[in-house]
């Protein structure tokens, strides 16, 4: 048995690599990647989404061919696909630009995204620079480590002139841009801060890279959202079990009674309407749209959440959970109830149940102790694969209820062509699913000693 699971775990590796390879190639082969996006953003007047001063005509995104080449080098798009994949996989850094943790004295500046003549607060990331390989590690900066560097305004002021062009190499300490502090006429210069190379890279080093868009580590973004997804998914899932198991038992015991038939209607409804669709209906009915306003329209907290006391915080969260959790529960409701019912009915027809009755045991004891224990076997094994389903089912429900979880992250990253995040979410989902599958086999063996895998 141990050998079997060891083999399963080993087989997990090629499967996992295969899946990541597949999606990695898909995201690299097709158009619309970050470079196309950057070019498009420039063509549209440098506005773009999330840029510091969207829609400003004075915006000086610098994207001449040299800069595009530099951008390609930065994302390693000039490499052959296999090399890109290996870099993604890690933990070896194939980038010749630097090695683990070395301090470098020269970096290549790729793009500027700065708005000249726009007043900015001190500390604002006025100038977003993308650099090849090395990472800015400015201890003063709000987010110290990132593949692209940021030069920060030391005080509030207006950028008047950019001194470096995209594609140029800059020495540490070289002047980057000029600015005039607010309420003053003198011109000051901001110089390039110190840079270090990125220490480790790649999936095997538990590094999923940095988001193209937000320039924060993908793993952080996922870790931050994981508890949110888990809270909703897990609650819905457990609630599903709490409802479905007793309901299934009742339906089996009272097979073809009026109760059985009536609850079957519910099950048909549950099977026919997808959970997210029910979520939309619930929102329209109870979210203060056209009917009653009992529950919030989405999100995970009220706006004044931070001002609430701890008890109010708890109830506020709970209040936001009601509708999404119902939607999650519906997802597993029909299948689980029917599974429970059929499984119990099958066992009730077995000889050992008849024997138990013949011994003079009460009906309650026969059903709840003898038959039920065996009937729970197929239900138990579902626990493992639920791990994957929990995540997979969430894209739609999180979108409907505007819950900022993993599903939402995956969804927005696909829209924004943020491939590192797309890959990161995929990696996490796939891992959970593969591990869940093995887990359900382990559970199978644990609850049913008759089963022998070979």
């Amino acid at each position: 048995m141990a050998a079997y699971f060891a083999r399963r775990l080993l087989l997990l590796i090629p499967t996992f690599l295969g899946i990541t390879m597949l999606v990695f190639s898909i995201t690299r082969f097709v158009p619309g990647g970050p470079i196309d996006q950057a070019v498009m953003q420039m063509q549209m007047g440098g506005g773009g989404e999330g840029g510091a001063g969207a829609g400003n005509s004075a915006s000086s995104v610098n994207l001449d061919p040299k800069a595009i080449d530099a951008l390609k080098r930065h994302y390693h798009f000039d490499w052959p696909l296999w090399k890109q994949y290996l870099q993604f996989l890690g933990p070896i850094n194939l980038d010749e630009q630097g090695w683990f943790g070395d301090k470098v004295d020269e970096v290549e500046l790729i793009t500027w995204e700065a708005d000249a003549n726009v007043p900015l607060d001190s500390g604002a990331s006025v100038v977003r620079m993308r650099m090849t390989g090395p990472v800015l590690a400015d201890p003063e900066a709000p987010t110290p480590a990132s593949t692209s560097g940021r030069a920060y305004m030391p005080e509030a002021g207006t950028v008047t002139r950019l001194l470096v062009q995209g594609g140029e190499r800059v020495k540490v300490g070289a002047p980057l841009f000029e600015y005039t502090p607010t309420g003053s006429t003198e011109t000051k210069v901001v110089t390039a801060p110190d840079f270090w190379t990125k220490r480790t890279t790649g999936l095997l080093a538990l590094d999923l890279g940095d988001s193209y868009k937000y320039e924060t580590p993908v793993i952080d973004m996922i870790v931050q959202r994981f508890p949110i997804s888990l809270r909703f998914g897990l609650t819905g899932f457990l609630l599903g079990y709490l409802i479905c198991i007793p309901l299934g038992i009742l339906k089996a015991v009272r097979h073809s009674s009026r109760f059985d038939i009536a609850s079957s209607v519910l099950i048909f409804i549950g099977y026919s309407i997808p959970g997210w669709a029910l979520g939309v209906v619930l929102l329209v009915l109870f979210g203060g749209g056209s009917f009653v306003d009992w529950f919030p329209l989405g999100g995970i907290h009220s706006q004044n959440y931070s001002e609430l006391g701890s008890w109010d915080k708890f109830t506020d969260s709970l209040y936001h959970m009601v509708l999404p959790v119902i939607s999650y529960t519906l997802g597993s409701f029909a299948v689980l109830t029917v599974l429970m019912k059929n499984s119990l009915m099958e066992n009730l027809g077995q000889d050992y149940v008849r024997t138990a009755f013949a011994k003079g045991l009460s009906e309650r004891r026969v059903i709840l102790v003898h038959a039920l224990r065996n009937s729970l076997i197929p239900i138990c094994t579902g626990l493992g694969s639920a791990l994957g389903i929990l995540m997979a089912g969430s894209y739609l429900i999180e979108k409907v209820f505007n819950i900022d979880g993993i599903g939402m992250l995956g969804f927005t990253s696909i829209i924004g062509r943020d491939y590192t995040v797309v890959m990161g979410v995929l990696v996490i989902n796939t891992l959970l699913m593969l591990i869940g599958n093995i887990l359900s086999d382990v559970l199978y063996v644990l609850v049913d000693p008759r089963i022998r895998f070979s």
């Binding site: 090629p14 499967t15 996992f16 295969g18 899946i19 597949l22 999606v23 898909i26 995201t27 097709v30 158009p31 619309g32 073809s256 059985d260 038939i261 079957s264 099950i267 048909f268 409804i269 099977y271 026919s272 309407i273 997808p274 997210w276 669709a277 939309v280 209906v281 929102l283 329209v284 979210g287 203060g288 749209g289 056209s290 009917f291 329209l297 029909a334 029917v338 059929n342 009915m345 099958e346 994957g388 995540m391 997979a392 894209y395 739609l396 979108k399 409907v400 995956g410 969804f411 696909i414 829209i415 797309v422 979410v425 995929l426 989902n429 796939t430 699913m433 593969l434």
Partner: protein, 352 residues
């Protein structure tokens, strides 16, 4: 004297078909859905902004059948196609013996009615627009009916395509076995390890697919279950005597696979099919809802629900398409249950 058989003995399939017809819920659902599908296929005849008959200056034209007619043909002064609803009004006001017979529901699903209706879209249900209009002022009922047609056509396409793929792959793996099987199984495993919805969204966002491309995409990521099932069937059937006999006869591998074994593995495939249709319809609606489905302005239920979610005060944009979805899926589930019951005599395998 031997008893003369009263009637010709029925084949297994015929018996199952008879059994299926006795299961009223499933049988009526099948009839209803076929009728609805046929009606929706004919929708361009009766849910259209083209008039049935126009009598103009003593001449009859039939735009619903003959297609495009310029506005100038009927004395309208606008450029482009004639506006028959307006034409009807004009003719009535002029009272010169010209008349227009409009279609019973004279709106096209992609036609914006913003100019002819008061107020801002989406409009609530009214006598003219039974189910209201959407955020571009397009008639919801018209879009619902055309959406039904598209959803069902799409779902059938996806199921047929994924079945074809799955059966082909499964048959090859199960029949030839050995290294092909081991390698193939790994590949199928990798393929099924992809999170379905997520991957489809990624591919769809990159390709901006047409209806047929989207069918292919969904099929491409949905054939693995069938393949693994067929593999098992072929693997089991391969060792039976009739296959050995066929081999001894000198039949080709392909003939054995598809003439001998395949009919024996067919039954469960048929009983899976309705549930596969349910899956395909739900996937399409979900994709459209997320904005990664069919390209606008294709009438689609999911897109309407998405509009409803951003116009939360317009319940008709959510309730009608979702009811349509729900009723359609429910009927397909009923069909599926009945087929399963007819095909699988095991007592407790039903949903009820």
């Amino acid at each position: 004297m031997a008893a003369v058989p009263q009637e010709k003995s029925l084949s297994v399939l015929q018996r199952r078909w008879r059994k299926f017809r006795t299961l009223k819920r499933g049988w009526y659902s099948l009839v209803a859905i076929l009728v609805m599908y046929a009606l929706s296929l004919l929708a361009p005849l009766y849910i259209t902004n083209k008039a049935w008959v126009v009598k103009y200056n003593g001449e009859y034209t039939f735009p619903a059948l003959s297609g495009f007619h310029a506005a100038t043909e009927f004395g309208q002064r606008t450029i482009g196609e004639a506006d028959y609803r307006k034409l009807k009004q004009e003719f009535q006001e002029a009272d010169a013996g010209n008349w227009v017979l409009l279609a019973p529901y004279p709106y096209h699903p992609n036609e914006s009615l913003m100019r002819s209706l008061e107020g801002r879209p989406p409009h609530s249900p009214s006598r003219a627009h039974w189910l209201g209009t959407d955020n571009r002022g397009r008639d919801v009922l018209a879009r619902l009916v055309y959406g039904f047609r598209i959803s069902l056509t799409f779902a059938i396409g996806v199921v047929l395509l994924s079945y074809t793929l799955g059966i082909a792959v499964g048959a090859v793996l199960g029949f030839f076995g050995g290294k092909v099987d081991i390698l193939g199984q790994r590949l199928v495993e990798i393929w099924s390890g992809l999170p379905f919805l997520y991957t489809v969204i990624i591919v769809s966002s990159l390709l901006l697919p047409s209806m047929w491309t989207l069918t292919a995409i969904l099929a491409a990521f949905g054939w693995m279950g069938i393949a693994m099932y067929m593999r098992g069937e072929f693997y089991r059937e391969k060792s039976k005597d009739y296959v050995a006999a066929a081999i001894a006869q000198g039949d080709s591998s392909r003939a054995i696979m598809f003439q001998q074994i395949f009919p024996n593995a067919l039954t469960p495939l048929i009983s899976f099919a309705p549930f596969a249709v349910v899956g395909a319809i739900s996937s399409l609606v979900a994709l459209d809802f997320l904005g990664f489905g069919l390209r606008p302005p294709t009438p689609s239920w999911g897109e309407m629900v998405n509009q409803g979610l951003s116009n939360i005060f317009k319940w008709h944009l959510v309730v009608f398409p979702l009811s349509a979805l729900f009723i359609t899926l429910m009927m397909v589930v009923f069909i599926g249950e009945a087929i399963r019951e007819a095909f699988d005599p095991k007592v407790f395998s039903r949903l009820r």
